[in-house]
Structures are given as structure tokens and as C-alpha cells.
Symmetry: C2
């Protein structure tokens, strides 16, 4: 699925994928920036804890966002597909200025939310200007194409990544998380080499990108964002490689970006602050 | 990637995925219908043989389409990513009334065409009214999400299907081919169960669907089209299943459609001719 169509005179909301394990207490720069963007004391942040099997997942974010001074933070416990038809939950999203997807399993998110009114409402609200953040699994699910699972290691091999359809908030990026912490360069390269139209983005823990309506993102947080741009790729051997063979990739462009750096997903140019 | 935006006052071209092994000689009903749709004696059909490693793949379709009476049939041999920048090939697509993707490997198509001007031109031409057909690998590549590889068998299991980004001519269907001949119900069900927003379509050999600009398709050919609609799905166990476990799926809708039957991808209603 792709982003909901834009509305005349309305600026699309930000999309904020976070690499997981973001700081809640000491220096919560990512969550603080998100809370401010959503309106601070005026913000209504709706939390979707579906990715997690832990009952307290939603409550933890309610607590954090309240401590960060948002006007209202509410968790809507969507636990099965039937929950994603309920009007009280749809209405909650209708009041949101920000939506937050917790971590857990991105396949729980896609199998429970996929094709339901809640998924459509999230895309629609983003087109209406609502900002949407997600951490770990909540970041992975955001694009049209998501990394559902995979193996660690620096070298791309066909069998090391499993792709699945995501939520469709952006169709220019594919996102991986816990990037350096779990050694995921290989699986991001494998994901990109299947069809080199996507920009691969690897997010370290406690690190986010704030992707604005102009298609430019800024890096926020303590780690690094790794960008793999295949637009000048001359060759990918993905179509002939055996499942566990290394894949040949000639002509990738690589950027390593730290906080304050920007990347334009339309022109594919990186820049310092 | 998703379909190119529509143009005011211009009707989008048909999308015609074919299940492979379509008849060229005895009763070439699928190719005949495509040739007629593209304008018959006025048609300019451009053939993209990239999926195949066989040199004669393009020439065979040139011959068939000429025998079926099209005005002009030309094969453009896009063999590497650099070919997909060449203006003479882009110009050829600019003159087309129909574009045909041969069979072979869908990963050859996605790795060579993905993210290039040729891929963008194909999507754009479709929005401008050009009809696009593809057989086997050429059918699989058409949607936003494609089945890149997989295993045979009737029962869905997570490890039996590999998804990858496709060409993005439609974002409502996911397409499998050689469907009964290669026993692929399991892998189609697995593909759908990852994110139940997609309609799964299994195409038998010598069988096509003609998907019109109104989102309705008609079945043409000697076999069957199997439609798996997950919109009423109550549960998918894909997020908790082990790689080779069977996946639980509760509440799928199934249609078996033969020639002349229609299916509306917007309302998700099947009907007889």
C-alpha cells in the first residue's frame, strides 16, 4: 500500500522511524522532539502497542509522554483483527495530533492491522497532517516494503532477509533498526538489491529520522543513520545468486549520517545541518 | 512503488498478467485479445525480453504478434542496468500502444529494471493509457509486491515464499502463476497472510486476467483464476509460526473463476459474465 493521497492546502505529517531502545529518562531527545512536534501541551498522542506481547508496553509510553508534558497520551490495545473495526479506536485516531507505534514484532502489526480500517485511518491521518512515530518493529512496518525478519552479518546473501508488505506511509525507503547493535548491514543490502528503487536506511538504537512533508529527513539521537542509495547501481547478482551466496553489488552510494545531518529522499543528496 | 498518478481525462491502460505457457498457435485467445486491445493493425507492441536468458525470447513474440496482425512489434533487449538509461529504448516505449514482458526470472526483471528510467516510463505509459501484459515472470513483477520465489504445496508455511518489490503497476493484487500446474496455493496463502490487505491471485497456465481502469478484471483463457481475498480474515498466525510450520488462517474468502467471470478489486465482488 502507498501513502494516502495528499489533500489540497494540507501539509502531510512527519514520519519518524526510531531504531529501538530510545532513551526515556536521561536524555530523551527523540521522544521529546516528537512530543514537541505534536503540539506539546496541546498534543494528543495515541499509542498503538500491538507489536508487543507485553501488557505494560502501552502504559510505559503513556507515562513517558505524560512526563514529557503532552496534553493527552492514550494507548489503544488492538490485540486482534476485530479490534481494528471498533469505532472508539478509530475515533481516538481521529483526535490524534501524533500516533506512536511501539516495538515488538512487525509481523504482529502487519497481520493484525493489515487491510483493516485502522491501517487506512493511520495513512489518512498522516495525509491530514498527523505525525507518526514508531520504534523498532514500529519503525520497520512504516514503509510500503518492510523487513519482516532476517539474519545478522555484514555480507548480503539472498536468504538473509524476509520482506513483507508494510503499512505504506512511505514508498521511497526501506527501514532496518537496531542497526549496528545487531550487525544488519548485510540484510539491508540484500533488501535493497532485490529491486534497486528503494533507499535503504539503517537506524541505530536511540536514533531516529524525522522525515518531513518535503521528503527531507533530519537525523536525531545518539547514534548513526546508514543510508544505502542504489540509484547509480550498475549490477546486482540477486537474480542468479544461490540462497546463501554473497550477492555482487556494483556502484552503491553510502552515507553515514549523525545528528543534525539531512538527507533529501527526492534528490538523494545528503548534507550537513 | 505504486502506479503513476492518473492524468485528467485520460483512461489508464489495462494490466494483463498471464499465468505462463499461453498458446501462440492453436487458440491464442489471450495474445489475440491483447493485440486487439492495443489497436490491431494500428498497434505498436514493444516487447521486453529481460526476464529470459534465451536470446530468441523477444523474437518469438515479435513473430507471434506479427502473425496476429499488429501494426508493429519490436523487442528491446534490456540486458543490463545501463541499457535502461538509453533514449532509443525510452523512445520506443513512448511510441507503444502495448508493452509485453516475457517470462523467465522475475528477479532478473526487478534487478535490471528496478529504479531505472525504463521502470518509471512503463508506469507512466500505463497511466497514459498504454496496455501492459506480462507472462509468468512478466506477470509476477507487475504488482507493488511480487512473489520472487517459493516452494510448491497446498499448505501455507512462512518459509515457502519470498517476497520482493515489484514494478508497481497495481497495489491491490499479488500474483502467482503456473498456479495449478506447480501446486502453488500454499505459497499464495503465505504471501497474503503476511499482510492481509492484498488480494491474492493465482493464474493457471494459458490463462490471464484483463484488469481495466475501473478496477474490474475479466478472466480470459483455458484455465482458472484463483482469488484469495483476506478482507474478512479474523486471524493469521504468521507472526508466531515457525519457519516450516503450517500457518493458521481463519476467515478467508475464496473464488475460483473461469473465462468470462469478472472480479471487482474495489468492491471485492466476483460475478459471472
Amino acid at each position: 500500500m502507498s501513502p494516502a493521497p495528499g489533500l489540497p492546502g494540507v501539509e502531510r505529517g512527519y514520519i519518524i522511524p526510531i531504531g529501538g531502545a530510545e532513551d526515556h529518562v536521561e536524555k530523551p531527545v527523540v521522544l521529546e522532539r516528537f512530543a514537541r512536534l505534536c503540539g506539546g501541551a496541546e498534543a494528543v498522542v495515541i499509542i498503538i502497542p500491538t507489536a508487543s506481547r507485553r501488557k505494560e508496553a502501552g502504559a510505559r509510553y503513556v507515562q513517558t509522554f505524560e512526563r514529557l508534558g503532552v496534553g493527552e497520551a492514550v494507548s489503544i490495545p488492538l490485540r486482534k483483527r476485530a479490534d481494528c473495526q471498533r469505532t472508539n479506536y478509530l475515533d481516538a485516531l481521529g483526535r490524534a495530533t501524533g500516533i506512536f507505534l511501539t516495538g515488538g514484532s512487525q509481523l504482529r502489526l502487519s497481520t493484525i492491522l493489515g487491510g483493516t480500517p485502522i491501517a487506512r485511518r493511520i495513512r489518512r491521518r498522516n495525509a491530514e497532517g498527523v505525525h507518526i512515530a514508531g520504534t523498532s518493529a514500529g519503525a520497520a512496518i512504516m514503509p510500503e516494503h518492510m523487513i519482516a525478519a532476517g539474519k545478522s552479518g555484514p555480507t548480503p546473501r539472498p536468504a538473509m532477509v524476509t520482506l513483507a508488505p508494510g503499512l505504506g506511509l512511505t514508498n521511497s525507503l526501506i527501514i532496518d533498526q537496531h542497526f549496528r547493535q545487531r550487525d544488519r548491514l548485510g540484510r539491508l543490502l540484500a533488501a535493497v538489491s532485490y529491486n534497486p528503487f528503494l533507499i535503504g536506511v539503517g537506524l541505530d538504537e536511540d536514533t531516529a529520522l524525522f522525515l518531513g512533508p518535503d521528503g527531507v529527513f533530519e537525523v536525531v539521537g545518539s547514534g548513526v543513520v546508514t543510508v544505502v542509495d542504489p540509484s547509480a547501481l550498475q549490477h546486482s547478482s540477486m537474480s542468479s545468486a544461490q540462497l546463501t551466496d554473497p550477492v555482487t553489488l556494483i556502484g552503491l552510494t553510502l552515507h553515514i549520517l549523525t545528528r543534525g545531518a539531512r538527507y533529501n529522499t527526492v534528490t538523494r543528496q545528503a548534507s550537513l545541518r
